[in-house]
């Protein structure tokens, strides 16, 4: 039976040289996706190693309950340091156009994307980050709060505010916060 993430971190803390590499093979792609969505693929390639090395050095500070939000928190800090050195657009880059897509679907999707991009640009950085952690990384508001180092109530209010803005900008009502937490 596979070890849990928590066991792997515990073994890494105890000196098992392979345990953290095992954890990387398990979650390396998720952390890369986190970086890639926010900084683009090339920077994600460059920053992935730094995130994992920082996580390895800080392995004794992990206190649970889940490892992935802790890794996102480290990735979040690495990204902030990266942007301080080289400012980047915080709105996700537009996906490449697909000239072979069906016209109707393409128009609809691109229109929706444009609305979303505009809405995300309206959001504050704090609200946007909570929203994207919930939607893209599938974290609960509580886990998003842990990633960002903010109280759970603050994360919930930021998420509520972000959904409210999306509701104005978008065409359909957003999901409720409680659905994720349940």
């Amino acid at each position: 039976m596979d070890e849990t993430d928590e066991q792997l971190v515990a073994w890494a803390v105890a000196g098992d040289q392979n345990a953290f590499v095992e954890l990387f093979w398990r979650h390396g792609q998720a952390v890369h996706a986190y970086l890639s969505r926010r900084a683009g693929r090339q920077d994600a390639d460059d920053l992935l190693s730094e995130v994992w090395l920082r996580a390895f050095r800080a392995r004794s500070t992990w206190s649970g309950p889940r490892v992935l939000p802790w890794l996102y928190g480290i990735a979040h800090n690495v990204l902030r340091a990266h942007w301080r050195q080289r400012p980047q657009p915080v709105v996700p880059p537009a996906p490449p156009d697909d000239p072979w897509a069906e016209i109707d679907a393409g128009l609809d999707a691109s229109a929706q994307r444009e609305i979303l991009r505009r809405a995300l640009a309206v959001l504050s950085e704090n609200d946007r980050e909570v929203l994207l952690l919930v939607v893209w990384e599938q974290l609960s508001p509580s886990e998003a709060a842990a990633v960002l180092g903010i109280p759970q109530g603050t994360a919930r209010s930021r998420l509520h505010r972000a959904f409210s803005i999306l509701r104005v900008e978008g065409t359909k009502p957003p999901i409720a916060c409680s659905q994720k937490e349940a």
Partner: protein, 355 residues
Amino acid sequence: MDVIEALEELGRVEPPGTEVLTRTADDLRMAAGEPAPVRRLAPANERSLGRRLSIVGSAILAGAAAAAIAALVLSIPGSPIRPRPAAAAVLAQAATAAASQPQLPPLASGQYYYEERISSGPCLTTTHPASPPPVTYVSSEALQTWTTTDGSGESKSSPTPAAHFLTLQERTAASGTPPLGCATTSAATVPANFGDASVLALPTDPRTLGALFAEGRVSDAGQVAASAPACPSPRNPNKPQANPCSVASQFNVAVNLLSFPTAPERLGGELFRILEKLPGVKIIGNQTDALGRPGTAIEDPSSGIIFVLNPTTGTLLESEKLAITSSEGVPVGSTLSTMTYGPVSVVSGLGALPS
């Protein structure tokens, strides 16, 4: 489209390339105290320069990386990332253990290293004179060697009680007498620098050794070719065993080198690391060797070689060769030969046995 679905679509990204994942895993291994088997992360300025200069190259590499990762991922349905194969995890553990094994103790005057191996396999080359149809006799020999630090010494082989006819009918047909040459006792003098000297001269740097393996330049006796041979072999382009760069060849060479008495504590970590990276290598399960020692069996299907190792000590216990083509004289999947490697110990002189 729902606004959340649209947002999710906006967040859809391509998975990272194999090189990025491997590089990060190596960085982690280095941080954890293990040597990195592949190249280190280039400095940021070099990466930027490379990025600017290699737009076309990147596209080609990306395609190759995508193909490689697709091949890895296809074997694991539902998983978008390559989980560490069980065999690789065991081999990585063995590599770490082997690298920390103590050196063999130095020899005092008159002392020898002693090792006993058990070799077995069908003896097919001789037909019993009293039985015109060939009989299959599974020979089993104990091979004892006494060597000094320069590799010189003596060897002795003698049949063991484990030797047997394959079937009762064949035993009856041969009147219970082993075919000629299949169960004999012999002794030989081992010349200096025979065997281990080449292995001891191999580079211990994992990157250098790995590159030599990938180029097919290392023989199964440890000699390094001056230049890289043609891969695949022009004479047998479709035969993996004849391709010195193939997985089958690299697996065979690495297992052979591990069997040299002085190799494990010097090169064990690097050789297990090479085996860990070979695609297709799989774990069979727990297996006990002919000396009754428990271990884990690892197989390379392309060469038909299985070996049993103790992953907690990084010790090679046994190797086995299976027939992978019908041209090898026995049914495909049958055992062609088995070698069990006893521990190496220091004895007081030629012919002496461990206490």
